[in-house]
């Protein structure tokens, strides 16, 4: 199976099948990550579109200095912040909470975890999602957020302390 770098170099050569495979790997991950930033399904879909179009157009300029995942999440993050600024000018409120409506049965625990995540300060929630869901290392997260590695570790420390308080 081709790794992300191989797929991206094929995308740079305008290989649509490789682009679809890369989309398959990242679309849901980007959507859920952006959902935790913007809490709006329509805006999250818009960000997925903008991100993947930017990947298609910018694949040839990827220098390989970072992981492909860090590059893609960086694009998504920039797009999300740009959209947030646009929405703030229009004074639109976030559309929905992260927690699924009326979680029941096997989803009950997931609902509690999502509620606990939502209770975190945004900068702590982002670190937890990037680390535990997206699988980024603290170095990659520091690069993505443009903060020192120590800041990432510190945000994680306080986030997990609060999560554990909420979930026990």
């Amino acid at each position: 199976m081709a790794d992300d770098r191989e797929l991206l170099s094929l995308v740079a050569a305008r290989d649509e099948a490789a682009f679809q495979r890369l989309y398959g790997r990242y679309a849901d991950r980007v959507f859920r990550y952006v959902l935790t930033l913007l809490r709006d399904h329509h805006l999250a879909e818009e960000v997925v579109q903008e991100t993947m179009v930017a990947v298609w157009r910018g694949a040839g300029s990827f220098k390989g200095g970072s992981q492909v995942s860090t590059w893609i999440f960086g694009i998504a993050r920039n797009q999300a912040h740009a959209l947030r600024r646009r929405e703030a000018r229009g004074a639109r409120e976030p559309e929905e909470p992260l927690v699924l409506p009326d979680p029941a049965g096997p989803l009950e625990r997931e609902g509690r975890v999502l509620a606990a995540l939502e209770g975190l300060p945004p900068e702590q929630r982002e670190v937890v999602v990037l680390a535990f869901y997206e699988g980024l290392s603290y170095r990659e997260i520091a690069e993505l957020l443009g903060v020192p590695e120590g800041t990432v570790k510190s945000r994680m420390y306080f986030a997990k302390r609060k999560l554990r308080e909420e979930l026990t």
Partner: protein, 123 residues
């Protein structure tokens, strides 16, 4: 390594992303520290729960891929195809973001190879 330093690294060990150069010192500490081993077990559980919770959120809506594709391909205006079912050349003109990019493809036994794309024809 003391417990404070070890606990700063435990979430990253639990997530499977701890840099290899930090692994040795942490594992040596864990071997002799039951309290940090118990802490690690909690970290692993938390990371699994966060992952499961995130997976329970909906993914990108159906139709997103088609919308992405429409934006990267543009609206086809015309296509010229030459050759046979073995080898062929095609040239396409489309409208994309106010531009008229011209692209060419070589097709050999059903496998398409992009040849060029010219982002010409400004608004």
């Amino acid at each position: 390594m003391n417990c404070r330093e070890a606990r700063e690294l435990l979430p990253w060990l639990a997530a499977g992303t701890l840099p290899p150069e930090e692994m040795g010192g942490l594992l040596a500490h864990l071997a002799g520290c039951p309290a940090c081993r118990a802490e690690l077990a909690q970290e692993v559980r938390l990371s699994q729960e966060v992952r499961a919770a995130m997976e329970s959120l909906p993914g990108a809506p159906k139709g997103t891929w088609e919308r992405v594709l429409a934006r990267t391909r543009g609206i086809p205006i015309g296509k010229l195809e030459l050759g046979s079912f073995l080898v062929g050349l095609s040239f396409g003109l489309s409208l994309r973001g106010g531009r008229l990019p011209l692209s060419g493809e070589l097709e050999v036994l059903g496998r398409k190879v992009p040849l060029f794309e010219i982002e010409g024809g400004a608004r």
